[in-house]
Amino acid sequence: MDTLLLARLQFATTTSIHFLFVAVTLGLVTLLVGLQTTWVLTGDPKWERLTRFWGQLYVINYVLGIASGLVLEFQFGLNWSGLSRYVGNVFGAPLAIETLVAFFLESTFLGMWIFGWHRLRRGVHLALLWGVALTAYASAFWIMVANAWLQHPVGYRVRDGVAHLTDFAALLTNPTLGMALGHVIAASLLTGGMLMASVSAWHLIRRTADFALHRTALRIGLVTAALSVSLVQGFGFAQFGPVGELQPTKFDAGPTADARIAEWTTRFGPGDYTPPVLSNVGLGFMILIGFTLGCVWLLLPLLWRDWLIRLRFPLWLTLLALPLPFVAVILGWLAREVGRQPWAAYGLLPTDQAVSRVDPGLMLASLIGFSLLLGALAVTNWTLLARHAARGAVDPALGRPPGTPDDDRSRPIPALA
């Protein structure tokens, strides 16, 4: 096992875990903004209960988003020191902006939002959630700016073997940015919407308490999923144009790809410049899932007179479809990143020059250690998420009025209380 392969495996594992959680974060926070805004505007307690229930699931999911994101951020320095050495002047800027402008504020706001129930005025409390959502979107934007630069480096000049920033505006108008950002955001909304619809469908199948509450959430989730799945497809197919032109080796072999490979062979020496087939296979499956999820439009007419709930089987379909968006976001991410190989920055910095000069044994230990740690925490997190989703909206800990007794079961509970 060489250091390069181990470092790539570690990055793939961490990014995949990270993506499963941040897609839900971005999708759910958008829906939460809608729920809490409606609550503040109407004053109807139903919306408060929906905000607390879904807010709690959002906050639990957020935990692993931070943890895996931290590992990713450090990995650039730990495993990919060549990346910061050769292209850090350009690639580092959007990442620095993301951490300070977006993530720093997002966490500050979220801490105040979680503990601000019954303490802050309703308007301020709502503004904090809006702050969390806006900074989450800003995060997605700056991360995609950085990623788009790796796909298609622009706005730099190489001096003494190191890339220097010459035109920051070019990074923001990168042709590999816009459609991909739209695609990722729509996919996150689709994931969030499907999660909301599936959890609600489970409650409606089991005929738990709060029929009206879960019925509302099911409708919101399905409509969100339907609208966003069309956006996902649109933004997805719109990317083939720029990708085919700017990254000809990514998805297809052809004269353009051969010409680019010939150019690289003269500049960088002979080598294998075609990406692994994995990216193409992943792309095919993702598109298949995308079309399958498009069928969610067929469920919308059944919202009329609650046929969706009365017929039962559409609820089962909604529940069983839950894994699909998660599988699709992983496959999509793999297609984009594996298709970039063998480049760290496409046509500029080969991946083998970006990796740190670290002993393979150390890299292997790091891969195993962090994968086990994040994997175990991810499974634990999902177990807790599932339990809290199943427990329903009866009394979530989030937003519980102060002074209510702790839910610690070690206290004796008076009989027949």
Partner: protein, 335 residues
């Protein structure tokens, strides 16, 4: 310009150690055999500040990557075990604190408490080891790469890791003295004063080992500021102890906070103008100017980020102001 960014990098890392320092201190104190209610009270005291504290680390690494890309790669990969250990610790603490009270069974909560204790210890020790690694220099070859990781295996690194752990524990107990209901204050103040003695001993050991180490002496470019900062550190710890005895926990927390910020200033000042000192090839030593990003990048980041800095710090200050004071029966409980 590089100097300004170097100061900002130091400010954010010091801010992280001061704020997350009491997170880890409170985390370490969960190791005590206490009632579940006492454990929950400690976490409730952290409550609204916890997420805002931890994120200072993310910002630090962001500045490191944006403004000092060359330094980022060699600094982190050159101290791989220390950084990876600290990172694993940080993850265990953030996940542990946030998920700890989601299961309602006492056994599960005890389990998560152990996770938080282990994570806090790893994080504090790891960051201490990283600071010590910087102070003693590392084997950077002529090509600018660090060879191997055995350079970290010294008594000075171990002692500094333990010293930071002891500082965090004392800082955490001081924070609880200020924040828990007034009835608990005398007991936590006594604990904090005992822990401060431990911290003084740990700092003295690390200092002695540092003075005895050839590598630390060779890597130190500015001996006078270094000695003065160590004296200031000891002074801060003594001041914290005195303030606790007089029943002034606010002053004591400021002093223990200073004690956690001073090691960062010490590491920055002692080696100035170098940021990475090579122990094998003097020509391979990296200075602040060498390590900084090119002028165009720093100008861009300066225009974009410096005007926003007051807003960033302002929202943090808002969270401290809104949730100021001792926790009582009306405090929101979530962690």
């Amino acid at each position: 310009m590089p100097l300004l960014w170097y100061a900002l990098l130091g400010l954010f890392f010091a801010g992280y150690l001061v704020l997350a320092g009491y997170d880890y201190g409170v985390g370490l104190l969960l190791a005590r055999r206490d009632t579940p209610a006492a454990h929950r009270a400690g976490l409730t005291a952290l409550g609204p500040f916890f997420l805002g504290n931890e994120v200072w680390l993310v910002a630090t690494v962001g500045i490191l990557f944006g403004a000092f890309p060359t330094l980022e790669g060699e600094l982190l990969s050159g101290h791989y075990p220390a950084v990876a250990g600290a990172l694993a610790g940080v993850i265990l603490v953030t996940v542990g604190v946030q998920l700890r009270s989601r299961p309602s069974g006492p056994a599960a909560r005890r389990g998560w408490d152990r996770v938080i204790v282990a994570g806090s210890a790893l994080a504090a020790f790891g960051w201490g080891a990283l600071l010590a690694g910087l102070l003693q220099g590392l084997p950077i070859d002529a090509a600018g790469h660090v060879a191997g990781q055995t350079h970290l295996a010294t008594p000075f690194v171990a002692a500094t890791g333990l010293a930071l752990l002891a500082l965090a524990a004392a800082h955490g107990a001081t924070f609880l003295t200020l924040r828990l209901p007034a009835a608990d204050a005398p007991a936590t103040a006594r604990l904090a004063r005992r822990l401060l003695v431990g911290a003084l001993a740990a700092v003295a050991t690390a200092t002695a080992l540092g003075l005895l180490s050839d590598r630390v002496r060779a890597a130190t470019r500015q001996p006078l500021p270094a000695v003065l900062l160590v004296v200031a550190l000891v002074g801060a710890l003594l001041a914290a102890r005195a303030a606790l005895r007089r029943g002034r926990p606010g002053v004591a927390l400021a002093a223990t906070g200073a004690a956690l910020a001073l090691p960062v200033a010490l590491v920055g000042a002692a080696r100035w103008p170098a940021v990475l000192v090579s122990t094998v090839d003097p020509a391979a030593t990296v200075t602040v100017t060498d390590a900084a990003a090119s002028g165009s990048t720093l100008r861009l980041l300066g225009w974009l980020l410096l005007p926003l800095l007051p807003a960033l710090l302002g929202f943090q200050a808002m969270s401290w102001w809104v949730f100021r004071g001792r926790t009582d029966g009306r405090a929101p409980v979530y962690w």
